[in-house]
Amino acid sequence: MDKVRFKLRRWDPERKTYQTSEYEIPVRRGMTVLDGLIWIKENIDRTVSYRASCRMGLCGSCGMVINGKPMLACETQILHLESNNVTVEPLYNYEPIKDLVADFHQFFEKQRTIKPYLIREDVEEQINPTREYIQSPEEWNLYIQFAMCITCGLCYSACPTTATDPKYLGPQALMNLYRFFADSRDQAEHLRLEIADQVDGVWGCHLATGCSEVCPKGVDPALAIQLLRKELLKRSLKLYRGKKISELAPPLPPRNKSPYRAFGEAPEFTIEKAEEKAREFNILKDDRVR
């Protein structure tokens, strides 16, 4: 079994400084960096703090900077790093809380500012939905790539603009903005373009594309920002024609005109009929349904 040296750059909240701790751990094939951290916590140092949950690259909790690159600890195999030294740091561009745990409150606050939900004119339908909105596979394809985001925050960590500009909305929020802009069910396209059209919005991006490079889900925030700019360019040249908005699905045919009528009428359900059937099949012992 190979041995690998883990160097953890840990934030000490009391001293307000980083300190480095080193541990040597045994490594087997398939072992991830998160497994390594769990091994350290269980066997060497119980004071090590990190955030993790699903261990399968779904929850986006275990984002860390591993050997200088933002990655998910649960999806990074130690042997794939091809190094006997593994340096683990808290995500860059986030305020650290303790050790490897980063504070995401600014990340989620920025996400809130872009209104990450469908905005419709038929407010009543939104509150009390009666039917679904019709969306073609082509319309779905326009945004589904950006709906795969797991909010792991690696993109903020790799972004050079976020490194110096605290007001910049950042790749994840802008990508999410485009996700709702491109969704045919959303009717707030002009509001979304207004939010994007700021110095700290899409114009803050300088296309380093580090965000897309580190994204563990292939979401490509840099592409979303380019597409937003394209729409803004069209708008400024007065070439923006708006987008197709999904309509509500038509109401279902009345019950007696149901297409299932060919298979015979569905029996009407009553407690009495259920009891009768239950007795018929000897399900009830005491002649009562309840």
Binding site: G68, T164, A208, G218, E231
Partner: protein, 146 residues
């Protein structure tokens, strides 16, 4: 904007270098800052003309040496890179050559460069490098090597 907020600061402009565009971004920043500095030095240099013919000639003589010629070559190379990469950025940043979004399929790919983006990047780099050859030739002629 120190470590309290966890932001990397200017160091974050350079690291982590994860891909080609990130490297080009870093070089674009460095050459941009270099060219701005050169602009001020150049204005200062030419302003010597205000103090009379003798001062101007003395300044020109002072600058007439291989070190400053090499500096000038770096300025030309920086300007070429900055210009060619700038054209690529305009085309790419405004989404004029952006590919269509597609549903990600495992194993997820990284930043998606389709043929248009590769073509633009390579063309601009060739354009910059091509002109740089001429600048280098002039520099060697100036040194008397060629």
């Amino acid at each position: 904007m120190g470590e309290k907020e966890g932001r990397r600061g200017i160091l974050g402009w350079i690291f982590p270098i994860t891909n080609l565009e990130r490297l080009l971004y870093t070089l674009h920043r460095i050459t941009g800052i270099g060219l701005t500095l050169y602009l001020f030095i150049h204005i200062y240099e030419t302003s010597m003309r205000m103090y009379g013919y003798e001062t101007w000639t003395a300044t020109a003589e002072f600058l007439e040496n291989p070190l400053f010629h090499f500096g000038l070559l770096l300025v030309v190379l920086a300007a070429l890179f900055h210009g060619a990469n700038g054209i690529r950025l305009i085309l790419q940043e405004l989404g004029l050559i952006a590919p269509k979004p597609t549903q990600p399929v495992y194993p997820y790919r990284k930043y998606h460069r389709d043929r248009k983006i590769w073509m633009t990047t390579i063309l601009m780099l060739i354009l910059g490098a091509g002109v740089a050859v001429f600048a280098l030739r002039d520099f060697l002629i100036l040194l008397g090597v060629m």
